[in-house]
């Protein structure tokens, strides 16, 4: 068991590469916030993928929409309290209209939302929904089996 980390604060330029890694890893990029109830509800399912797929290249990245001003008051305490194992980023870009379309043109900005992609398997799909563990496990298994 590794120690829960602190969130890394990124601007768009620092974050954008996470959407386009060209390798054999399956990336699960989840947009969430500590104030978003359905996001918090699905978080354990996403976080447990790290352990479930420990022998496969699967990487979960939790991209928080919390304000930067709430990093130490809300986000970091939350990461410790929930013992989150995934990488947590805080995307510090309040001018949402400038970047939402770059994540996915169909996204209207509702969270939770999750981008799952694997460059080598040519899989890329954007979901605006609250996942159960079974649903997301099935999607990743299908990508791995391809």
């Amino acid at each position: 068991m590794t120690l829960a980390q602190e969130a890394e604060v990124l601007k768009w330029n620092g974050f954008e590469p996470y959407l386009n890694y060209q390798n054999d890893t399956t990336y699960v990029i989840n947009f969430w916030a500590t104030w978003c109830k359905p996001c918090v509800k699905e978080l354990p399912a996403l976080d447990s993928l790290n352990a479930t797929f420990a022998s496969n290249p699967v990487r979960v990245i939790l991209v928080s929409m919390d304000f930067k001003s709430q990093l130490n008051s809300h986000l970091n305490p939350f990461i410790i309290e929930k013992d989150i194992q995934s990488n947590v980023l805080l995307l510090d870009e309040i001018d949402y209209d400038k970047w939402i379309n770059k994540v996915d043109s169909t996204w209207k900005g509702a969270i939770p939302a999750t981008l799952i992609y694997n460059y080598q398997k040519r899989f890329r799909k954007f979901y605006v929904k609250e996942f159960t563990f079974a649903e997301i496990e099935k999607i990743i298994n299908n990508i791995i089996k391809q």
Partner: protein, 204 residues
């Protein structure tokens, strides 16, 4: 003959497919605004056609519980104070499923509107049909409707402004700018914007 028949089947299929895609995604800029008739917090029914004598309506899908809706609440009140006199009153609509968010029940809406002295209707879209017809996805989600001889068209879809956290730090007042353009007979320069918000809690 056979070829013509196949072609017509293809065209009909394409038309139906396009139609169903449009419905699933709601309305787009320039399309006519779906009519609504919903219960206001004062127990009276409010319809879009009640606004036939206005220049337009600012429809805002919002709710009690969502932190981003709360952040925008005072700005929504100010928007109504400012734009009502210019012919564009605000109509707020809560589309959330109460079984998932008890805080968004009709009684709680009444409390909120009373405590915060809302100067605009706060309607309850219990069936969620209106949110679906408009293609609302999150709270808050704004649709500016422009009245042309009692026919309303959608001329703006998106956010209120570009800084939810700090109203003092806003550098683009999307809704106000759009209405100022409409008032002088122009199209809004920016007619669609996107913003982070709470997912509408659809019935399961």
């Amino acid at each position: 003959m056979r070829k013509i028949l196949l072609n017509s089947i293809l065209i009909v299929t394409l038309v139906l497919l396009t139609a169903s895609l449009t419905i699933a995604d709601g309305i787009t800029i320039g399309q006519s605004a779906p009519e609504f008739k919903l219960k206001n917090v004062n127990e009276e029914m409010v319809s879009l056609s009640d606004y036939n004598d206005k220049k337009g309506v600012i429809v805002i899908f919002t709710c009690n519980h969502c932190p981003f809706s709360k952040k925008y609440e005072s700005r929504i009140k100010m928007l109504n104070d400012k734009m009502q006199s210019k012919g564009f009153p605000v109509v707020a609509i809560n589309p959330n499923d109460v079984s998932q968010v008890p805080e968004d029940s009709f009684t709680e809406m009444q409390k909120r509107a009373y405590e915060q002295s809302y100067t605009f209707p706060y309607l309850y879209d219990e069936s969620q049909d209106i949110a679906k017809a408009y293609g609302a996805a999150r709270t808050p989600h704004v649709f500016i409707l422009v009245n042309n001889e009692s026919k309303f068209t959608v001329e703006y879809i998106g956010a209120i402004d570009n800084n939810v956290e700090d109203s003092e730090a806003v550098t683009a007042k999307y809704v106000e700018d759009a209405i100022e353009a409409i008032i002088i007979g122009e199209k809004p320069k920016k007619n669609e914007t996107k913003a982070i918000g709470c997912t509408i809690k659809w019935k399961k």
